[in-house]
């Protein structure tokens, strides 16, 4: 075979697209159907007969999804803020100044790119219990910040090396402090890299189950991922409720994805992770 024809290529890609989207589609359409219709015709779209919101009503009454959503939002936004701010500051120090131990510090911070933070869970839990942070959102924010920093420093310092020295020196001659040079000159210039780092970190933080389960399982600090896991576990035989809860968990990530997908895909394909 010399070359695949365009028609064959579209057929292959279309087939895989169906495989990728089919489960999401099935969950979403069935969440709007009455129990009988879910079982009778699982692949049919909801119509006037089978349409029902009973699952969503159960979810609204039994689970505190608004609170879970709020918790996830706080944890994700706060962690991203710290990752970007602290990461950019450290990246600036490493890429801008020559000092003893610069390379060593860079290597030390890069260690965490390959080693998953989960390995240290036992001691992290012990520390959070000792400091009274267990069952607070702070425990999660600290862990996700620490986990996100290594890659953030690595990507951002690569970008900061590309910021022109002339610009920074002009700022220095104009009497700007080193802090002003960082916040007013460099940070705005590396915005695309900041966005890439944010998008890379956002999804794993939002979706994590391990740390919420171990560090913050209490009702008032549950994240959406843990909240839906527990809810679905309890309502396992109530198919309407399970399907509705799944749909509600899918919704926020899908919105985020639609908003940020170009950024995410550009970030990956620009070779930011190497």
């Amino acid at each position: 075979m010399k070359r695949l024809t365009p028609a064959l290529m579209h057929l292959a890609l279309l087939t895989y697209t169906v495989v990728a989207l089919f489960p999401v589609f099935v969950i979403l359409i069935n969440s709007f159907k009455a129990r009988k219709a879910i079982f009778r015709e699982p692949l049919a779209l909801p119509d006037a007969d089978s349409f029902s919101l009973v699952g969503y009503q159960t979810v609204a009454m039994q689970g505190d999804f608004l609170l879970y959503f709020q918790n996830s939002m706080i944890v994700t936004v706060a962690s991203l803020t710290f990752i970007l701010l602290f990461g950019a500051m450290a990246a600036f120090a490493l890429s801008e100044y020559r000092f003893r131990g610069n390379t060593l510090m860079g290597l030390y911070l890069a260690l965490g790119i390959m080693i998953p933070i989960r390995i240290g869970t036992v001691a992290i839990l012990e520390m959070m219990v000792k400091t009274g942070l267990v069952n607070t959102l702070w425990a999660l924010i600290l862990v996700y910040t620490a986990q996100g920093l290594p890659l953030a420093v690595f990507i951002l310092s690569e970008f900061m090396k590309g910021v022109s020295d002339d610009l920074k020196n002009a700022g220095r001659i104009d009497g700007l402090s080193e802090y002003a040079i960082f916040f007013r000159l460099v940070l705005p210039l590396v915005r695309p890299a900041l966005a890439t780092v944010a998008v890379f970190n956002m999804i794993p933080i939002w979706n994590d189950l391990w740390f919420p389960l171990i560090l913050a399982p209490a009702e008032e600090v549950k994240t959406l991922t843990l909240g839906s896991q527990v809810f679905i576990g309890q309502f396992v035989t109530d198919w309407n409720a399970v399907l509705s809860a799944l749909s509600m968990a899918i919704l926020p990530v899908m919105v985020l994805y639609v908003v940020f997908s170009r950024q995410l895909i550009r970030g990956i394909t620009s070779g930011a992770v190497k």
């Binding site: 036992v122 999804i203 979706n207 799944l246």
Partner: protein, 300 residues
């Protein structure tokens, strides 16, 4: 001694990273050398590891989880990477319409949480609901259906394939990026020598994307050896049926946190975490010193 502003720029990141990541990591390795004696913590040396590797009460579970983990990884390497390469090769062909739409759609599963993915597939494969059997029926293969997640022989492979379904977007994207970076000149030089179409893929593009495949392999390795969420969401902490889907992550969770009547044991948990650390370290070293160097060498 660096200037004060340098220290101020470095301090927050270094402090958080050291306190929440590096210190607990080493503290966990240290805790693996202790055991509980009533309320006291006593130093026991390597006794925890001896129990973990040799005492049948523990070692059966450990070797089972480790073996399952290798199988889990193998399925990823054998299925995820070829599909990812194939999709990327299709997407990167010039003048393909709707490439961006396909890319966006195929990446969707990767952004979903394990909880959603685990339950969604559990429902779809469930014999009660019957989506999977009726789909197989439509293509005349109904006899092939089995409650895959409930059978010891198939459950782990099924979960590995679900995980592949979820993450195939990542190799696809990374290889897509690598394929785009191959310059026209190289391909044209090939064409002059009569290498076109599929031959160009095998003889020119594939060797050039090998470094990306190396990166994907090590990312997959690290990801698989601390995986937990999908198994927990789909099969629970007991990783049923009969521990057939137990991997190191679920084994660590059960040991450390306890389940049902068994109390949690942070010291044995630390020992398992240390073993996982060792395995990941060996994998990363093989990659860094064995594979990556050779690939770099091969490129020029």
């Amino acid at each position: 001694m660096p200037k004060p502003h340098v220290l101020i720029f470095l301090a927050p990141a270094v402090l958080v990273y050291t306190a929440v990541m590096i210190y607990p990591l080493f503290d966990t390795l240290r805790l693996a050398l202790f055991a509980a004696d009533g309320q006291e913590r006593v130093y026991v040396g390597l006794a925890n590891f001896r129990r973990l590797f040799l005492d049948p009460l523990w070692s059966d579970q450990f070797w089972n989880a480790l073996g399952n983990n290798f199988w889990f990884f193998l399925i990823h390497m054998l299925v995820q990477n070829p599909i990812g390469v194939a999709l990327a090769a299709l997407l990167s062909s010039p003048r393909l319409r709707f490439a961006a739409a396909y890319r966006t759609a195929i990446f969707v599963p990767t952004i979903l949480s394990f909880v959603i993915v685990g339950f969604a597939w559990k429902l779809i494969l469930s014999p009660i609901w019957g989506i999977a059997p009726s789909l197989l029926d439509a293509v005349g293969l109904k006899s092939l259906f089995a409650p895959w997640l409930g059978k010891e022989a198939y459950a782990l492979t099924t979960l590995a394939l679900i995980s592949v379904w979820q993450f195939v977007g990542i190799p696809m994207m990374l290889i897509y990026a690598a394929l785009l970076s191959i310059t026209e000149e190289i391909l044209e030089a090939g064409e002059v020598d009569g290498i076109t179409g599929m031959a160009a893929f095998w003889k020119i593009k594939l060797p050039l994307i090998l470094p990306s495949i190396g990166i994907i392999s090590i990312l997959t390795f690290v990801g698989n050896f601390n995986a937990f969420d999908l198994i927990y969401a789909a099969q629970g902490a007991l990783a049923g049926p009969d521990f057939s889907t137990d991997i190191l992550g679920t084994f660590l969770y059960r040991t450390f946190f306890g389940f049902q009547l068994q109390l949690g044991d942070p010291y044995m948990g630390s020992a398992i975490a240390s073993a996982m650390f060792g395995i990941i370290l060996v994998g990363v070293c093989i990659y860094l010193f064995g594979i990556q160097r050779r690939l770099r060498h091969y490129q020029f």
